[in-house]
């Protein structure tokens, strides 16, 4: 993990043993959010339970609304954001799907809402465990998407999320994905910064001439016909492009103010400098991968890890640069895209697309694993690595996607 806590900051920061969800709630309190809406669904709802405590405890002054469904949950914060309120919302699995209509409208409205997706398998069958398909619903719609893997990163990324989303150059919604159970429900030592620091990093949300208020009479989202839609899509596209710069700026500033945080915002590189094989994954899957990588390094096998933090905007150039060095790439998806090219998961297909124009294209092997929250075991990772070394030796990409940990 790229989080190094310098002693100087440690003196100011509080050290708490909290879950990823509680860490997000700490960040929301520091960000002084104005309106938050809740609706129960595991595993995301632990963050709302934590916020409810903050409200009843008086640490957070916000309108706390328990909605009658996810659809309303997201519409309520959307409209609160339009009048200039800093808002937070979230969901999981089919709850996120139930809110879909309200998710798709926010990018063109340029509503900078921040949402937590506690990643959860989609029904049917009902399952609580993690899969990434829920958050990935919005990958094409103008939502910014990132994945986190520790409580500390949950807290830091939530602060960064508001800074990025509420930047006038961006004004796009942002979803932070946290793997169900592994992150939402397990506690770790987390550094919580003081409010003064946060205030230095995070300016107040100002919608300016897009605010819905009698002092700024505007008509928002009138009906349009074919004469208008493509221009409006283009505007959203430009905002997403600008987000790349804004994210870089935010992380630089975060390190300046808080004295921690990664040099590279987009992805974490673990032992990749000299790696023959680079594995790629998102979220907490990085943890077993790191363990296995250390084991294999002990045996002289040069394996490294790239853990993607940001999926939208997608860090194409930097990722290509990082991967081109390797002799083989193994992508482990905690999601599926049935009937897609090579039957791969979403990340594998995006990495393939990103590498298409690369000068050197290492062979790529794609894997689907950990679905429904099943653990990715060290044995799985060893198997993955062997196949990647085989691909490196043959110089050929594998044309099929391998399912990990499935009972054959």
């Amino acid at each position: 993990m790229a989080v190094e806590t310098k002693a100087a900051q440690a003196a100011e920061d509080k050290e708490l043993l909290i879950s990823g969800s509680e860490a997000v709630a700490e960040a929301l309190t520091l960000a002084d959010i104005d309106v938050v809406t809740a609706y129960p669904i595991r595993p995301y709802d632990t963050v709302m339970q934590a916020i409810a405590k903050k409200i009843s405890g008086g640490q957070l002054q916000a309108e706390y609304i328990v909605a009658e469904g996810e659809h309303s949950q997201f519409e309520i914060v959307k409209h609160a954001s339009m009048v200039n309120a800093r808002v937070f919302c979230g969901s999981s699995g089919v709850g996120w799907a139930y809110a879909m209509e309200c998710l798709v409208v926010t990018p063109s409205l340029r509503v900078p809402m921040v949402a937590l997706v506690g990643n959860r398998a989609l029904d049917d069958p009902g399952a609580f465990g993690v899969e990434h398909n829920d958050a990935l619903f919005v990958r094409d719609l103008g939502w910014m998407l990132c994945w986190i893997d520790t409580s500390q990163e949950a807290l830091d990324t939530t602060l960064i999320a508001y800074r990025v989303a509420e930047d006038r150059r961006v004004f796009l919604p942002l979803a932070i994905s946290a793997d169900g159970a592994f992150l939402t429900h397990s506690q770790a030592i987390t550094m919580v910064p003081p409010k003064e620091k946060v205030d230095r990093f995070l300016p107040r949300y100002d919608r300016g001439d897009l605010q819905l208020h009698p002092d700024n009479p505007i008509t928002v989202a009138p009906q349009v016909n074919e004469d208008w839609v493509i221009e409006i899509r283009r505007q959203t596209n430009e905002a997403m492009k600008r987000a790349t710069t804004v994210i870089e700026e935010a992380y630089t500033d975060f390190r300046r103010v808080f004295g921690r945080g990664p040099e590279n915002p987009w992805f974490e590189e673990y032992m990749t400098e000299d790696a023959d094989v680079i594995l790629i994954g998102m979220g907490t899957i990085s943890l077993p991968l790191k363990v296995a990588i250390r084991e294999m390094r002990a045996k002289g096998k040069k394996v490294g890890l790239v853990r993607l933090r940001w999926f939208r905007p997608f860090p194409t150039d930097r990722l290509v640069a990082a991967l081109s060095k390797a002799h083989a790439i193994g992508v482990i998806d905690r999601d599926y895209s049935f009937g897609s090219p090579f039957g791969s998961g979403v990340v594998a297909n995006e990495v393939r697309a990103a590498m298409y124009n690369a000068a050197t294209r290492p062979p790529l092997v794609s894997f689907t694993g950990g679905l429904g929250g099943r653990e990715v075991t060290l044995e799985d990772v060893h198997k993955v690595t062997e196949m990647c070394f085989a691909a490196a030796a043959s110089g050929k990409s594998d044309v099929q996607t391998h399912w990990l940990g499935v009972r054959e």
């Binding site: 004004f171 897009l210 505007i218």
Partner: protein
């Protein structure tokens, strides 16, 4: 030409079913001579609004390949024939889904035809129709505009008379026999309707219109902004508050400059300011906020925003204080109140001339009661026509006396 394109310009909802019958009739008639065709409406006009101009199209070609060239479009760029089933549309068309006023004859190819149902003389219609830099033919079917609603249709044979006239205009694509055969096979066809089609064929009047002949005004237009010129967040500025009329008295609301609703209007209110009791009812009841409050407490209907629904006449408690008069007898959108204030006697003469025009004050504007359309047809026949079993409804409408 191996392909033939026609557009029907009509009043939304009031003539929706009529237009649909016409475009279907064109395609099915052409099919009788082995041709292929498609019929469609301007997608942007749907959902239609009562009275707001809309368009349907029929394209007929010798081969499927030629037809394909004209498919998957919102609207053809050129048409051989523009069919207009309400002559008040001659003033121009502002569909609810586009911007600016479009001349009725805009899409007609050089030498093409504008076919209108009208009781007006050519000269009167030409005062409204915008001039074109290429010549075209104006063909007239002598009939009153046929209005009904979504659910109850007025069987006045307008659709078959249009088809019969088309057989005269483009015989190469629609032979009269083909039209008659198609009509007789329609679910709404009949021998009498076939007879109507043949009569319309025989009686079609037409006149060549020279380049530059017609209404010289330049219709207002609107330039679409580029993507970076548009406000973000799909937002646009609101309309500013209005102002007093003059001397701090009265009230004139600001109005949206980009959509003027008058091309939706088929009848306009003519106001007698002398008998107005200033009860406010027309003003408060107008769905289009088109009444300006005058300093003297009377109300002036803004003719750019009035869509002619007639609610003001319906709620006005004073006999003949507000009278709806057919749009065709007016040449501009000038303020009635200003004219009245300038010269009250002249205004009264003008007003009485308008509201006593029995032709222009006849109202057939949709469903009022069961059996109404049959009565209307009968009363038109009573004015010199023959029984519906033998005659053609509407053919003597110009003789109508009320």
């Amino acid at each position: 030409m191996a392909a033939f394109t026609a557009e029907i310009v009509y009043r939304g909802i009031f003539q929706k079913n009529l237009a649909a019958r016409i475009v279907r009739g064109i395609v099915l008639s052409a099919r009788k001579s082995g041709r292929w065709g498609i019929a469609f409406g301007r997608y942007g006009d749907s959902p239609q609004r009562n009275g707001i101009p809309a368009k349907d199209f029929a394209i007929v070609a010798d081969t499927k390949e030629e037809l394909e060239q004209n498919m998957a479009r919102y609207e053809p760029k050129h048409v051989d024939v523009t069919i207009c089933v309400d002559d008040t549309l001659a003033k121009g068309v502002e569909s609810w889904a586009w911007y600016g006023l479009q001349p009725l004859n805009r899409l007609i190819v050089p030498g093409g035809t504008l076919l209108i149902t009208s009781l007006q003389p050519y000269g009167d219609i030409l005062r409204d129709i915008h001039r074109k830099d290429t010549p075209f033919t104006m063909a007239l079917i002598r009939a009153r505009a046929s209005f009904s609603g979504l659910w109850v249709y007025k069987e006045d044979h307008t659709e078959v008379r249009i088809l019969g006239a088309l057989a005269k205009i483009v015989p190469a694509f629609l032979s009269l026999d083909a039209v008659c055969q198609a009509v007789s096979e329609m679910e709404w066809g009949s021998d009498l309707k076939v007879a109507s089609a043949r009569k319309a064929y025989d009686r079609l009047e037409s006149r060549e219109i020279e380049a530059g002949e017609g209404n010289p005004e330049t219709p207002y237009s609107f330039e679409l902004p580029r993507w970076w010129e548009m406000r973000e967040g799909v937002s646009i500025p609101a309309i500013p508050l209005g102002k007093p009329k003059e001397g701090g008295k009265g009230y004139v609301p600001e109005r949206n400059p980009y959509f003027k609703k008058f091309s939706t209007r088929t009848m306009r209110p003519v106001i007698d300011f002398d008998t107005c009791v200033k009860c406010n009812l027309c003003w408060i009841s107008c769905p289009d906020s088109c009444f300006d409050v005058m300093p003297d407490g009377t109300f002036d209907a803004n003719m750019e925003s009035c869509c002619g629904c007639g609610v003001c006449e319906a709620v006005c408690p004073v006999e003949k204080c507000i009278t709806m008069v057919n749009e065709s007898v007016f040449d501009d959108n000038a303020s009635q109140w200003d004219a009245w204030r300038q010269d009250k006697d002249a205004y009264r003469t003008w007003m009485i001339d308008k509201i006593s025009n029995t032709q222009a004050t006849v109202r057939s504007h949709g469903f009022r009661f069961r059996g109404q359309y049959e009565e209307e047809l009968k009363s038109e026949l009573d004015a010199g026509g023959q029984a519906i079993t033998a005659g053609i409804p509407g053919e003597n409408a110009q003789h109508k006396t009320v």
